[in-house]
């Protein structure tokens, strides 16, 4: 169960002090009019602390949502997932952007086709200084891989010489701030069946993240323990 089911009773702070222009924008794509920091500021934010994690829920003005989890000690981002309304108006699926959701104890059997667990697993797991992606369960030697930046398509591509693995991924953080992709910032290594790809965060991202962290710490979150839910 997601933590924001408790959100309605948690103290909620709206930081919308300035007027938001009536512009259609999507969190998933590049924003032309509003900058990402403004979007974050105008979002309705709710925080709570549990399991040594600061959990924040953002509700954007277009109805889409973002949920983040930060480690309390290191302030590292552990999980970020986004959800927007489907075209017909229903609630969409949560898309994990950073980290991994806890796999449910019982694997669902009703899905008719899913990737086998023996395949490589691609997840993003950031550090303070860089964006980082891990491809687990990939046993080929390090000279098999090549990772390149495609500035025209705004994405990075992992290729393998034995044609076993291929992955195209974008960096949504850079897209949101409309920053260019630099091939010099990219590096990768392979150890313990895992391919680790790092992209050094540019200065703009670092300042934005520090600013956001300061704001989040100001949010009055509830403490650990059960939250009494008035509607239940």
């Amino acid at each position: 169960m997601f933590f924001f089911f408790f959100v309605p009773v948690v103290f909620s702070v709206s930081m919308g002090t300035f007027s938001v222009p009536e512009v259609d924008y999507y969190v998933f794509s590049i924003m032309a009019v509003q900058s990402w920091s403004e979007v974050l500021r105008s979002a309705k934010k709710t925080a709570l602390i549990s399991d040594g994690k600061r959990k924040v829920h953002y509700l954007f003005t277009d109805g889409s949502e973002m949920a983040e989890e930060y480690d309390m000690r290191t302030d590292e981002l552990i999980l970020r997932q986004l959800r927007s309304k489907t075209k017909l108006g229903g609630a969409g699926q949560w898309q994990v952007e950073v980290g991994e959701r806890n796999p449910s104890a019982v694997p669902s059997t009703d899905t008719e086709i899913k990737e086998s667990s023996s395949n490589p697993l691609f997840i993003r797991k950031d550090t303070k200084a860089s964006f980082q992606w891990r491809v687990r369960n990939i046993p080929y030697p390090v000279d098999t891989y090549s990772v390149s930046v495609e500035p025209a398509e705004r994405c990075c591509i992992i290729r393998t010489t034995n044609k076993k693995y291929y992955k195209k991924f974008s960096i949504p953080d850079l897209d949101r701030c409309q920053l260019p992709l630099e091939s010099t910032a990219l590096s990768f290594s392979h150890a313990n069946n895992t391919l680790i790809i790092s992209y050094k965060k540019p200065k703009e991202i670092l300042t934005l993240e520090q600013e956001l962290m300061r704001e989040l710490k100001k949010l009055k979150g509830t403490n650990e323990g059960d939250v009494d839910c008035k509607t239940q």
Partner: protein
């Protein structure tokens, strides 16, 4: 060629077609018109009623054009003259892409929902919106299919499917339904396929060029395609049709866990509807969606009351309104909910907006023809004499009664191990089951010996 071995080991899966039961109108497959909209005497299950079928054909053209909204048609005629059959014929000729909603006039009376709400829901079910949506598909060349059946012979099968593009390769775990449809599509190694991730629909694009030298395994119609490039999973736009009512339901549902506590009455707020109408017309202007006005068919329309009729008047004026087809077998009768008499039990102001199609009783030849069609539909062999007798019965009592006798006579015939229904079989069931007029005759004779006969002066109020 382990993969091909595995593929051939799979037993032939029975084609799972929907088994349809034989209903009163299951023999109708269309209106039976030619290209010039001239009705054929006997076609697509329809017999006779040439003028009304021709009229229905014109209405059908109007619906297919899709430009005209909010027209209403009334099919009026005596019982058993093919009113519902004509409506079913229209539905069949429209095809699956145009929404067709059928309801009986009495269906809208419910304690849970107001009459007008039930009617608006029916109206909105009959309007389709064709819209593009993104969906996730898997596209690749099959490297290997491996299906393991449990050693005990029972239980679910498990399977693995290896797919590749020119750049990568992935193994997928399969569920039993997916295994079934893979073997139904006869997918084997070397085929290029796409799988819709949400619905599980498999489509074969052709065989990979790299397999072009295996001449022996394929027919002349085999298409060769390139192995796809890049990632296996892609996002693709697909077009599908939803009804306005479905969009209403998606948007009116209380979000999240609060839905557990709100007692949903099934009624949809008018604000939600207005929002959706605005949204849909916005999509339409932007070219993102297309509106398909469908057909709402209300059978036994005299069951509606005066409030419903006045609601219909207004609803037909909206530009988001389907073509309304109504059917009734009443003559001049009381409008439900009032003391006024009106033709067909429908107020004059609504009648004024209707195109009225009249059906007339069938001739002897037509009755004969219909009975023949029904015999085929119900799989009963009828001898010529029996057919003549049954036609007489159909003419003198009612067509429905004669149709009822077909399958009962067929059963009697089977019990005496006959292959063809004879006159005796018809006589037998004719004596066993009373038709309406013989039953009333019997009533008149033995009225005094029935229970509660002292209350006979009170007539039942049916209107």
């Amino acid at each position: 060629m382990a993969a091909q071995m595995a593929a051939t080991k799979v037993p032939e899966v029975r084609d799972i077609t929907r088994i349809e039961r034989i209903g009163a109108h299951s023999h109708i497959r269309g209106l039976g018109l030619d290209d010039a909209l001239e009705p054929r005497q006997v076609s697509q299950g329809m017999v006779g009623q040439l003028a009304s079928r021709r009229a229905a054909g014109l209405i059908l053209e109007m619906i297919k054009d899709g430009h005209i909204a909010g027209r209403a048609v009334l099919i009026a005629g005596q019982p058993g003259t093919g009113k519902t059959a004509i409506a079913m014929g229209i539905a069949q000729s429209l095809g699956s892409d145009t929404p067709f909603t059928a309801l009986a006039g009495s269906e809208i009376f419910s304690l849970e929902m107001s009459k007008t709400e039930a009617l608006s829901q029916a109206f909105r079910k009959a309007i389709g919106v064709r819209i593009k949506e993104e969906t996730e598909i898997i596209e690749g060349e099959v490297v290997e299919i491996q299906i393991d059946r449990p050693a005990t012979g029972t239980g679910a099968k498990v399977g693995k499917l290896t797919l590749k593009t020119t750049d990568m390769e992935t193994i997928y775990d399969l569920g039993s339904k997916m295994i079934e449809s893979l073997s139904k599509e006869k997918v084997q190694a070397g085929d290029v396929i796409t799988i819709d991730k949400a619905t599980g629909k498999i489509s074969k694009l052709g065989r990979s060029f790299t397999r072009a030298r295996d001449y022996d395994a394929m027919g002349a119609q085999t298409q060769f395609v390139q192995c796809p490039e890049g990632e296996l999973q892609k996002r693709k736009e697909v077009v599908h049709t939803v009804s306005l009512h479905e969009i209403d339901v998606i948007n009116s549902r209380t979000q999240g866990f609060l839905a557990l506590f709100s007692g949903d009455t099934g009624e949809i707020k008018s604000e939600v509807r207005e929002q959706i109408n605005a949204k849909v017309s916005e999509w339409r202007e932007e070219g993102k969606a297309e509106i398909i006005p469908g057909v709402l068919f209300i059978d036994e329309v005299h069951m509606l009351d005066i409030e419903c009729f006045s609601f219909l008047n207004r609803a037909l004026e909206s530009d988001l309104s389907p073509v309304l087809i109504m059917a009734t077998n009443r003559g001049i009768t009381r409008i439900r909910g009032t003391n006024y008499q009106s033709p067909h039990g429908i107020p004059i102001d609504l009648l004024d907006r209707l195109l009225i199609i009249a059906t007339s009783p069938y001739t002897e030849k037509e009755t004969r023809q219909i009975l023949k069609i029904r015999c085929e539909e119900e799989d009963v062999e009828l001898s010529d004499e029996a057919h003549t007798v049954l036609t007489r019965i159909g003419q003198e009592t009612s067509l429905r009664y004669a149709i009822q006798l077909i399958s009962t006579a067929g059963l009697v015939c089977r019990k005496r191990r006959g292959t063809e229904v004879q006159v005796e079989d018809i006589k037998r069931v004719y004596s066993l089951f009373l038709d309406e007029s013989r039953s009333s005759q019997y009533m008149k004779e033995y009225q005094d010996s029935f229970l509660f006969n002292e209350a006979q002066s009170l007539q039942m109020d049916t209107s």
